[in-house]
C-alpha cells in the first residue's frame, strides 16, 4: 500500500509539473463553459436549473481529454529508461499500475472539480436538484475511472505517447459515440444491437445523468476499470519477457 501511495504521489506531482496537463485542464474547462452557455437551455427564464444537458456532452469531450492526460503515464517511463529503475525496485507491477491509475484519477477528479463553479452559479440563481447533480457527478467519476484505466492500458502498450493517445481516443470514441449512434439511428437488430447497447458508454452514462444509480451500470464501470487495469498489468509484465 505504501508503494502504491508513493507512486500516486509522484504521478500527481508530475501532472502538476506537466504543461500538457494544464493545457487539457484549460481546454476542458473552456469547453464546459461553452457548452454551459450555448448548447443548453439554461438561460431561458423558467427553465430547469440543471447541469444535465451540459453533462450530456461531456463523455465525447472526455474521450479526447483523458487519453491526452494519460498518454505519458507509462510510455514516458519506457522512453526515458526509468522503467528499469522502477521494475527493479521492490514493488510489483500491479502496484505500479494501480499507483499510476490513482494519480491520474485524482487529477481527473480535480479537473472535474473545476465545474463545481457552475453548481454554485445554479444555486445562486435557482434551486437545482442536488440529488440529480450528485448522480451526474458520480456518473462522470465512473466513466472517468474507466477512461483513465483504458488510457493507462494504451500507454503501457507503446513507448510513443502520441500513439497511446490516439489509440485511446479512438477506442473510447468507438465505445462511447459510435455504439450510441448505431443504436439510435440505424436499424440493427438482434444480438448486435444487444452487444452495442451493453457496451455503449453514452447510454449508461445517461442513466446516471437522469438520476438513476443502477447497479448494473456500477458493475459495468467498476468491472471495466478493473479489467483494463488488469490488462495494463499484464502488458507491463510482458515487457520483461521480451
Amino acid at each position: 500500500m505504501r508503494n502504491v501511495l508513493a507512486i500516486t504521489q509522484r504521478e500527481l506531482g508530475a501532472f502538476f509539473f506537466s504543461p500538457i496537463a494544464y493545457v487539457v485542464l484549460f481546454a476542458f474547462t473552456f469547453m464546459v463553459g461553452l457548452l454551459f452557455v450555448f448548447l443548453t437551455d439554461n438561460f431561458t427564464p423558467g427553465s430547469e436549473a440543471s447541469l444535465r444537458d451540459t453533462f450530456n456532452w461531456l463523455p465525447p469531450l472526455l474521450c479526447i481529454a483523458v487519453p491526452i492526460l494519460t498518454m505519458r503515464l507509462i510510455s514516458e517511463e519506457y522512453r526515458s529508461g526509468t522503467i528499469e529503475t522502477l521494475m527493479t525496485a521492490p514493488i510489483s507491477d500491479a502496484e505500479v499500475v494501480v499507483g499510476k491509475f490513482l494519480g491520474a484519477f485524482i487529477f481527473y477528479a480535480i479537473m472535474l472539480a473545476a465545474t463545481l463553479f457552475y453548481v454554485v452559479l445554479l444555486s445562486v440563481y435557482g434551486e437545482p436538484d442536488y440529488g440529480l447533480l450528485a448522480s451526474g457527478y458520480f456518473g462522470l467519476l465512473m466513466i472517468g475511472a474507466m477512461f483513465v484505466a483504458i488510457g493507462l492500458f494504451f500507454s503501457a502498450t507503446t513507448h510513443n505517447q502520441i500513439i497511446a493517445a490516439l489509440l485511446g481516443a479512438f477506442f473510447l470514441l468507438l465505445l462511447t459515440i459510435l455504439a450510441w449512434i448505431i443504436v439510435q439511428f440505424t436499424d440493427v437488430e438482434g444480438p448486435i444491437q444487444l452487444l452495442l447497447q451493453m457496451v455503449s458508454i453514452m447510454d449508461r452514462f445517461q442513466h446516471f445523468n437522469r438520476g438513476l444509480v443502477d447497479v448494473n451500470n456500477l458493475v459495468f464501470f467498476c468491472g471495466g476499470t478493473a479489467f483494463f487495469l488488469f490488462l495494463a498489468v499484464k502488458v507491463v509484465e510482458s515487457r520483461r519477457w521480451r
Binding site: S80, G81, T85, R242
Partner: protein, 319 residues
C-alpha cells in the same frame, strides 16, 4: 553472494548470453569487461530482476532471482546504463521518492537522503530539478539512489560512461571506497577502468565468459615474449652487437634518437636481462639513461581474446 549457473538469454533468435557461470564472494569488487554487445548489460539485468533468463539460474544473497525476486531487489542497489531519472523532479524529491519505495520510514527518510547525498557529493545541487543537471551530476544522483537502502550488493552498469576524466577519477575513487562495505559488480568496456578499480575481472565476449581473474593473473596468461626498452650512448653497431650477444636476447632493433641508441630488445620470456645490459654498458663505458621492461598489456590480451570470440560467433551465425 552472487551465484550464476549456466545462465542463458535469448532475444528471439539472438543468443545474448551463452551458458555463463560465475561466483562473486561477499565484499569482492568485480569488473565485467567486454566489448559492446557482449552480454554484460543483459547479465546485469537478469541479476537485478529486470528480466528473466531463458535458462539457467542466478541467486543474489542467497535468493533466487526468478522465484524470490522481491527479496533480491531489496538486497540490490542498481545503477543502469545512462542513469535514468525523472527530469521534472528535484534531486531531493527523487531520492525521497525512492527512499519511500525502499521502505524507509518517513521519519528516517530525510536522514537517509542526507547520508547518501553527502557520500556521493550531490548535496550542493540537491534542490535543483534533475533536468537541469549535467551528466556527471545525474550519475551521482543515480548512485546515491542505489545506496539509499544500504544494499548488500551494488550493480553498476557502465558507471563512468560519458563522464569527463576528472569525474571518472572521482567516480572510481568513490566506487573503491564503497567496495569496503558492499559487494560491487560493475560493467565496462574500458579496460583501464576495470584494471584500476576491480580486484577481479570477468571478461565476456559474444555472450561467453572467456577469462576470469585478477589483472595480474590475466596478464600472466598472455602469450608472447616480453620486451625491453633501453637507451645507450655509444657507437651504434658496437652497441647492437654487444647487446645481441647477451644470453637470452632474441631480436634487437635500434633507432637513433638525438645521439642515443634506442634499443627495443626481445628477450626470452622469464629472462630478465636488464642487469646484463647494465654490465655491458658500464664495461664499455657507454652511458645508459633508460632501461625498462614492457610486459604485454592487458589490452593486447583483451583484443586477442575478444576478437577470437567475435569471429567464432560470426562463424556460428552464418552456418
Amino acid at each position: 553472494m552472487i551465484q550464476v549457473r549456466n545462465l542463458s538469454k535469448w532475444y528471439g533468435p539472438v543468443r545474448a548470453v551463452d551458458n555463463i557461470s560465475f561466483r562473486i564472494r561477499e565484499g569482492e569488487i568485480v569488473g565485467f569487461l567486454g566489448p559492446n554487445g557482449a552480454g554484460k548489460t543483459t547479465t546485469l539485468r537478469i541479476l537485478t530482476c529486470f528480466m528473466p533468463a531463458s535458462s539457467g539460474s542466478a541467486s543474489v544473497a542467497g535468493f533466487d532471482v526468478f522465484s524470490e525476486s522481491m527479496a533480491v531487489r531489496e538486497q540490490v542497489g542498481y545503477l543502469p546504463e545512462s542513469a535514468p531519472l525523472y527530469p521534472e523532479m528535484r534531486a531531493s524529491e527523487y531520492l525521497s521518492f525512492r527512499a519511500k519505495l525502499r521502505g524507509i520510514a518517513s521519519t528516517d527518510r530525510p536522514a537517509a537522503v542526507e547520508r547518501v547525498a553527502r557520500r556521493c557529493r550531490v548535496a550542493d545541487f540537491i534542490t535543483r530539478p534533475i533536468g537541469q543537471l549535467s551528466r556527471g551530476m545525474k550519475q551521482r544522483v543515480g548512485l546515491a539512489e542505489a545506496l539509499m537502502h544500504d544494499p548488500k550488493v551494488l550493480v553498476l552498469d557502465e558507471p563512468t560512461m560519458g563522464l569527463d576524466p576528472a569525474q571518472i577519477r572521482e567516480t572510481r575513487n568513490l566506487i573503491r571506497e564503497l567496495a569496503k562495505d558492499h559487494t560491487v559488480i560493475l560493467s565496462s568496456h574500458i579496460l583501464p577502468e576495470v584494471e584500476a578499480t576491480c580486484e577481479r575481472t570477468i571478461i565476456i565476449a559474444a555472450g561467453r565468459i572467456v577469462a576470469s581473474g585478477s589483472p595480474s593473473e590475466l596478464k600472466e596468461r598472455i602469450t608472447g615474449s616480453s620486451r625491453l626498452i633501453a637507451e645507450v650512448r655509444g657507437p651504434a653497431e658496437a652497441v647492437k652487437t654487444a647487446v645481441t650477444g647477451i644470453n637470452g636476447v632474441g631480436k634487437v632493433q635500434t633507432t637513433l634518437v638525438d645521439g642515443w641508441n634506442r634499443l627495443v630488445i626481445e628477450a626470452q620470456p622469464g629472462q630478465d636481462v636488464r642487469e646484463d645490459i647494465f654490465k655491458i654498458a658500464s664495461k664499455n663505458g657507454w652511458a645508459l639513461r633508460e632501461i625498462r621492461r614492457e610486459v604485454a598489456s592487458l589490452e593486447d590480451f583483451f583484443v586477442q581474446i575478444t576478437a577470437q570470440q567475435n569471429i567464432e560467433r560470426e562463424g556460428h551465425a552464418s552456418t
